[in-house]
């Protein structure tokens, strides 16, 4: 004989559906607290906040206060919650756990903002210090120390602002070593074109005719080949 199975109650069926769709619930106005006791514990913080905000004209705290206490303990620790309870007992005041939760959240946010501000400031300071030590591109051109013609001649003397340096330079230019050096330089520069033509051939390994020609021709100038 089959035992008669009792159908689940309509209340239970509706509660199961409500729990499944708790993220869509807004106002629970008119719902008996026995029903709320079964549904609201399935809410997370944003869901419970939304339900409380949507349910205008009804104080849900008889059901939700213990839920907020649980959220407080989960978020900030049981020790913190116990300390709050002690303080309330000492001062003989009673606050709702939702208020306590929101106050603690604000306090934490302010502390975090302060710390992040300090971090940003110290980072900016250290960055500024680093940048002050770096070389930077500038549009200013320093005054050139050499003349346009590469060192010989007297035009470079005008670049010396210190009279002592100017005098030292004049004496150096008048010295025999400097005169000899400049003479050699001038000779070297004037014969540079003929040297390039005659010595260019040996430097090209792919052209054997030119190399042979260079060794036997009379165009080769032994004096330039020092």
């Amino acid at each position: 004989m089959d035992a008669k199975r009792k159908a689940p109650s309509l209340v239970d069926l509706c509660i199961d559906l409500a729990i499944e769709n708790v993220r869509y619930i807004g106002s629970v106005s008119g719902l008996d607290s026995n029903l709320l006791e079964r549904i609201l514990p399935h809410c997370n913080i944003p869901q419970l906040t939304r339900i409380e905000n949507c349910t205008k004209g009804t104080d849900l705290s008889p059901v939700t206060d213990k839920l907020w206490k649980r959220f407080y303990e989960m978020e900030y620790g049981v020790d913190n919650a116990n300390r709050v309870i002690e303080r309330m007992q000492q001062k003989k005041v009673q606050f709702k756990w939702k208020q306590l939760f929101e106050a603690k959240k604000k306090e934490r946010e302010e502390a975090e903002n302060k710390i992040s501000k300090k971090l940003k400031q110290s980072y900016a300071e250290s960055l500024a210090e680093k940048q002050s030590r770096q070389t930077r591109m500038t549009t200013k051109i320093p005054p050139s120390k050499r003349g346009f013609w590469g060192g010989s001649g007297s035009s470079h003397l005008t670049n010396y602002k210190s009279p002592l340096m100017k005098k030292a330079k004049i004496e150096f230019l008048k010295s025999p070593e400097s005169i000899n050096h400049n003479a050699v330089k001038r000779t070297f520069q004037s014969s540079s074109t003929s040297i390039s033509r005659s010595v260019a051939a040996p430097s090209r390994p792919n052209n054997p005719l030119r190399i042979n020609g260079a060794s036997s021709s009379g165009s080769f100038n032994p004096t330039s080949r020092r």
Partner: protein
């Protein structure tokens, strides 16, 4: 079905639902109302329950009867009426 075997349920917006007595008795509230000597007629008014909700309640009654006879199935509930139906079911103790 004879009139004695049925009962009429009337919603807030005037919709009438005639259901078998044994189906309506699934609701303990209706059971109490029908057994009360005060109720002479077999017509029960529910000024706080809308027609669409009362209709769903009657559908539940017939589903529950079939379920208890062994015809197990799922009872579909539209999510948008879930809270209101819950309140009605709570009131009707069903």
């Amino acid at each position: 079905m004879t009139p004695q075997e049925t009962v009429k349920l009337v919603s807030a917006d005037g919709l009438e639902f005639v259901v078998p007595r044994n189906a309506a008795m699934i609701s303990k509230t209706i059971q109490g109302m029908l057994s009360s000597p005060v109720t002479q007629q077999e017509e029960l008014h529910f000024p706080e329950i809308r027609g669409v909700i009362l209709k769903k309640v009657c559908e539940y009654f017939s589903w529950a009867l079939r379920y208890s006879r062994g015809e197990e199935s799922e009872f579909p509930i539209e999510p948008e009426i879930a809270l209101e139906l819950m309140m009605a079911a709570y009131f009707l103790d069903t």
